[in-house]
């Protein structure tokens, strides 16, 4: 377990997607150490969270590779450099001191580094929230995007919204515990494991779950103490509204990316991308670089391929920030080899 301790490294990388991971390698070849932060609990960014099973065809020398396998290979490739990962937390604050940066995360982890490389892709992933008025007022007071304590739903009336695995799995899991479960989905088909969909349907025949199909969320009702009711509207020409008295709404509409705290750091940002100087990936702030999908310059191609090259550019540029007085004696990996791995 990580403690609230302070660490020191050469470079902090924000984002553990393919480009962030390869940045560890490029830094490592220049003998620079790194720590990597990511809001997700697993490495891999979009490759892991959004399309793990999709084949990628445009990685040089890999005619076809599934996104999840690309991440596994990168993990193996960077292992010799022993990166330290801080997962499941967002970098919330960066402060410049005389000699270095202090990077602080949402869980209180602090790391000191000479340079920062932002490889945050489309932004940090969080729950994709339904566009309902006042939803923010009920978050944590009846509206939830994940289940942290199953027991807290004991004898409660729950609305579960969404048509994916999370909606189906939690409907099944909470069916015995809750007083009543309503599942709201806009069409007959659920994009979930068929056996689980079948189990949910049989629970609905037994009266444990009520399936409200085709409906979608329309509005929320409640007061300062929390959610009282969820209004839903039929997803057809009828537009029939139903009011469901409920203690909680579990909203499962997948993930969406937001730039988050990065937008507050004084970086030059346009359309959720950071402007960089393409040959160094330097941003407008000295000591901060950006690579991969989040980095922008004229004619930028948002490809993993491009991001890998940017990782190398940024690593070389970061070297002069970490070691301002030291000449960089460059050696190709063929001459340099890799650090010895411990047996």
């Amino acid at each position: 377990m990580e403690e609230n301790t302070q660490n020191t490294t050469d470079v902090v990388i924000i984002g553990a997607g393919p480009v962030g991971l390869f940045t560890v390698f490029q830094l490592g070849m220049l003998k620079l150490t790194s720590h990597v932060f990511d809001t997700l609990h697993d490495i891999g960014g979009q490759c892991t969270a959004l399309y793990p099973e999709k084949p990628i065809y445009d990685i040089p020398a890999l005619p076809e590779v599934n996104a999840i396998d690309l991440i596994a290979q990168l993990q193996k490739q960077i292992a010799p450099f022993k990166p330290i990962f801080h997962l499941g937390q967002q970098v919330t604050e960066i402060t410049k001191n005389e000699k270095d940066w202090l990077i602080t995360s949402s869980t209180g982890i602090q790391v000191r580094a000479k340079a920062i490389i932002i490889a945050a892709g489309a932004g940090a992933f969080g729950p994709n929230k339904p566009a309902l008025k006042n939803i923010g007022d009920y978050e944590g007071k009846g509206v939830y995007y994940s289940v942290s304590k199953r027991e807290s739903f004991k004898d409660k009336r729950l609305v579960i919204a969404g048509g994916g695995d999370s909606a189906v799995d939690w409907a099944i899991s909470l069916a015995d515990l809750a007083e009543k479960i309503y599942v709201v989905h806009r069409r007959e088909k659920f994009r979930a494991i068929p056996e689980n969909v079948a189990q949910m349907k049989s629970l609905s025949e037994a009266g444990k779950i009520e399936l409200l199909i085709p409906y979608q969320l329309e509005s929320l009702e409640g007061d300062a103490s929390g959610l009282k009711a969820v209004n839903i509207i039929s997803f057809d020409q009828e537009k029939q509204v139903k009011r469901i008295e409920s203690d909680a709404l579990l909203s499962f509409f997948g993930l969406s990316a937001r730039l988050g705290p990065i937008a507050q750091w004084g970086l030059s940002i346009e359309n959720a991308q950071i402007n960089v100087e393409p040959t160094t990936c330097a941003t407008n702030i000295e000591g901060i670089f950006a690579v991969g999908d989040i980095a922008h310059y004229p004619h930028k191609l948002k490809l993993i391929l491009t991001g890998f090259a940017e990782a190398a550019q940024a690593a070389h540029a970061a070297y002069t920030v970490v070691h301002p007085d030291k000449a960089l004696h460059f050696q190709h990996s063929t001459s340099l080899g890799l650090p010895p791995t411990e047996a």
Partner: protein, 105 residues
């Protein structure tokens, strides 16, 4: 060069001459219209969600199962909602009108 009319969230009509072969998402991005399109057309999100004018909806190829699955995650879904990255602009679509949806912050 099909003409396409985008109706913005605040009800402004913007008509553009789009290059044939682009998708509606690409035409919107090229025009600099507000649209996230986070996954750039790789069918991994729903942030290029548009509402197709009802008179045009049936003229489009129906959505694939993958597109339907992603539409499940879109906000303010309607019966004529589509992902704009899945609609290539052809001469048949000359004059089509589509409505942009709010960008989710």
């Amino acid at each position: 060069m099909p003409t396409i009319t985008f109706v913005t969230v605040d009800d402004k009509k913007i008509t553009v001459e789009a290059k044939s072969g682009l998708t509606i998402m690409e035409a919107a991005k090229e025009e600099g219209l507000p649209m996230t399109a986070a996954c750039q057309g790789s069918l991994a999100c729903a942030t290029c969600h548009i509402v197709v004018d009802e008179s045009w909806y049936d003229k489009l190829y129906p959505p694939s199962e993958e597109e339907e699955d992603l539409l499940d995650t879109a906000s303010d879904l309607t019966n004529t909602s589509r992902l704009s990255c899945q609609i290539p602009l052809t001469e048949d679509l000359e004059g089509i009108t589509v409505h942009l949806t709010p960008i989710i912050e």
